[in-house]
Amino acid sequence: MRLDRHVGPALIAAAVATIAFVWATPFLWTLVAAFRPESAGSADMASLLPDFTPTLANFRLAFESGDFGLYYVNTIIVVVGVLGVQLVTISLAGYAFARLEFPGRDVLFYVFLVQLMLVPSALIVPNLRTTVDLGLYDTLAGVMAPYFASAFGTFLMRQTFRGIPRDFEEAAAIDGAPWWAIVWHVLLPMARPGLIAFAIVSVTAHWNEFLWPLMVINDPANHTLTIGLATFTKGAEGAKEWGVLAAGTLLVMAPLAIVFVAFQRRFVESFVFSGIKG
């Protein structure tokens, strides 16, 4: 019994530490490689041990290869823009499905759900045409537009709202509050964890998006981070500058890392209190 109490957790901790190390290896290598000279390759380039004199040359080249500041701004614009509109559309739609009775409600809901699987990347060819027809080709708005309506978010909000006991709304209704006041003052605050959880899903998804922005955007002034990164990690006829690639990846990851570490506890807490169990 006593053995179980000590050895068990110790074993688990060791296993966890090992897995964490394995998981972190790509990043460890990136960190080391970004500072390693001889960017193009050498027999020991995979070594995780810094057995060289560090250099900042790779970072300088990475900066020259792409306007990372601009890419960051563009990506933030896209991510915030999409999320902003989504929060509105999903709250409204979620409320409608959760609380209102109207003909065709269930049909419409399933119709919404169809979108879950039909991501813009899958419908790239016709969506590109639509984007052009709307005059949004080669604009950040064009990148954002297909995501303004989110079936996933609507579904989530519907679940979250449904999970809130009706007493609060009924009390407010008795007090004569109109529907939008109820939503704004009663429901949304209680649904906040769900909103936060959705925000995390949305931000992560759009931060990482590649194929759709790649097809929509040409002008380098509109490039997002993913496109910017992709351009200098490719080369047609041959070699790679691994050090520069590592440096560039680090540049992209670092701010995110800092933000996540700073807000980690908040993230987890929000999940805890949310209806994100289902």
């Binding site: 193009a40 050498s42 306007d67 790649l214 040409n218 002008d219 080369g235 006829e237 041959g238």
Partner: protein, 439 residues
């Protein structure tokens, strides 16, 4: 922040333009370009474009880096389909037939006529081997910008170690196999160092197979008619068998597909003694190879013959007249002797203009870098790059099969047959409209 700076500068510029009474309109055009080797070239191209923009006021070019050759084609055609074609694109030299058939690019004849010159005169300064890929059906469609041929790079230290004379690199397939066997270092069953490696990724593999089959006496495709390719032929079969044998019989080449990036990295790391890569990588290798190396012609079996590679400047349809004029102006500047010469020295590609080699800088460069001379000498044996209807898909038909061979999934005989069948199927629509369209 750049954005704000850009906005501010833009607002200022707009104000100036509006305020000025002079009515010169600056035409803005987009220039799509791929980067063949590595980020440094993209930076240099951006610098060149800036130089052009600064040198005159009529045209402003926005340089857009669009990845690999295949991706550039993809982006350019998608943009054209979306109604916003780029003005000028640096396109793989062998996409011209495909693009012309698709109706995507402009014939450059009107521009030549406007300048009062003819195609013969214009192309006269360009190496003869490049003429075929620059024209389609007798009309000029692309202006060569930089070109390459495959080259055999060898690690001279390894050669000496293995008792081979680095001054006598392999000239024939037999010598190649022999050298590779001597150069391969084994540790029991494991191979520590491969005698020979070549890239197996899309685009590169097709090009190298073209080089090998040409060295075996073959043509790969019908230069006069974009509806025929010669996969199921003895010359291609021989090339395919060579590759298969290098991996499975002589065991000097690793199995599976290794991308170009992996091949050059292996070369730098001393894990591969001989590699078949493009002259386009010459500068990159020269800068990054820490141990002595040398270059040689692609070994022959029947004859010395290699396809050219590289890219030409093409202009897309669907642009305004002003945009076309601006684009042509840019094309002329970018393809001028000095610019081409400088780019060639910087990248390792050879300059498509003969006059570029008459300049003092180039002469001095070649003296200092004899490997560049080898690349130039091989030009005497250069053939056009394959260009057919649906070039990419037809090329992939062969590449997929060869990749299966390199993985040991298929034998060469079966692979070339399957490749031919697939290619014929892809070419069918074109053939039905042309050769098999009978009254």
């Amino acid at each position: 922040m750049h954005v704000i700076r850009r906005l501010g500068a833009g607002a200022l510029a707009a104000a100036l333009v509006l305020a000025s009474s002079a009515a010169w309109a600056q035409t803005k055009i987009e220039f799509f370009f791929p980067v063949p080797v590595e980020g440094k070239l993209a930076r240099e191209m951006t610098r060149l474009v800036k130089q052009f923009n600064d040198s005159q006021k009529d045209v402003e070019v926005t340089a857009v880096y669009t990845g690999s050759y295949d991706e550039t084609k993809l982006k350019a055609q998608a943009a054209a389909k979306a109604g916003k074609p780029p003005s000028v694109v640096l396109m793989s030299a062998n996409f011209n037939v495909d693009l012309k058939l698709a109706g995507d690019i402009l014939s450059l004849e009107p521009f030549l006529a406007a300048e009062g010159t003819t195609r013969e005169k214009f192309l006269g300064d360009f190496w003869p081997a490049l003429h075929a890929n620059a024209t389609v059906d007798g009309e000029l469609y692309g202006v060569p910008f930089h070109n390459s041929t495959p080259l055999l790079y060898i690690n001279t230290t390894h050669f000496k170690e293995a008792g081979l004379d680095p001054a006598k690199p392999p000239r024939t397939w037999a010598e190649l196999v022999d050298a590779a066997k001597k150069l391969t270092k084994r540790d029991g069953e494991k191979i520590e160092r491969h005698g020979f490696m070549m890239p197996g990724g899309y685009d590169y593999l097709g090009w190298l197979m073209s080089a090998l089959s040409m060295s075996n006496g073959g043509r790969y495709f019908n230069e006069s008619y974009g509806g025929e390719v010669y996969y199921d032929t003895p010359s291609m079969l021989g090339a395919a068998r060579l590759v298969e044998d290098l991996v499975y019989k002589h065991k000097v080449m690793p199995s599976g597909v290794v991308e170009a990036g992996g091949v050059s990295t292996a070369f730098f790391a001393g894990k591969a003694s001989m590699v078949l890569l493009s002259t386009g990588s010459l500068s990159f290798i020269r800068e990054n190879m820490k141990t002595p190396y040398d270059v040689a012609f692609v070994p022959r079996n029947v004859r010395n013959a290699v396809p050219i590679g590289g890219a030409s400047l093409v202009m897309f349809k669907g642009q305004s007249e002003a945009s076309q004029q601006a684009g042509w102006k840019f094309v002329r500047w970018l393809s001028s002797t000095d610019v081409l010469g400088g780019w060639s020295r910087f990248t390792g590609y050879f300059a498509p203009r003969k006059s570029a080699y008459d300049t003092a800088e180039m002469k001095e460069f070649i003296t200092r870098n004899p490997d560049a001379k080898v690349a130039l000498d091989q030009l005497a044996y250069a053939q056009p790059w394959f260009a057919t209807y649906q070039t990419v898909a037809v090329r992939k038909a062969l590449e997929d099969e060869m990749q299966a061979v390199m993985n040991g999934k298929k034998k060469a005989e079966q692979a070339v047959k399957d490749a031919q069948r697939k290619a014929d199927e892809l070419l069918r629509p074109y053939i039905d409209q042309t050769a098999l369209k009978l009254p």
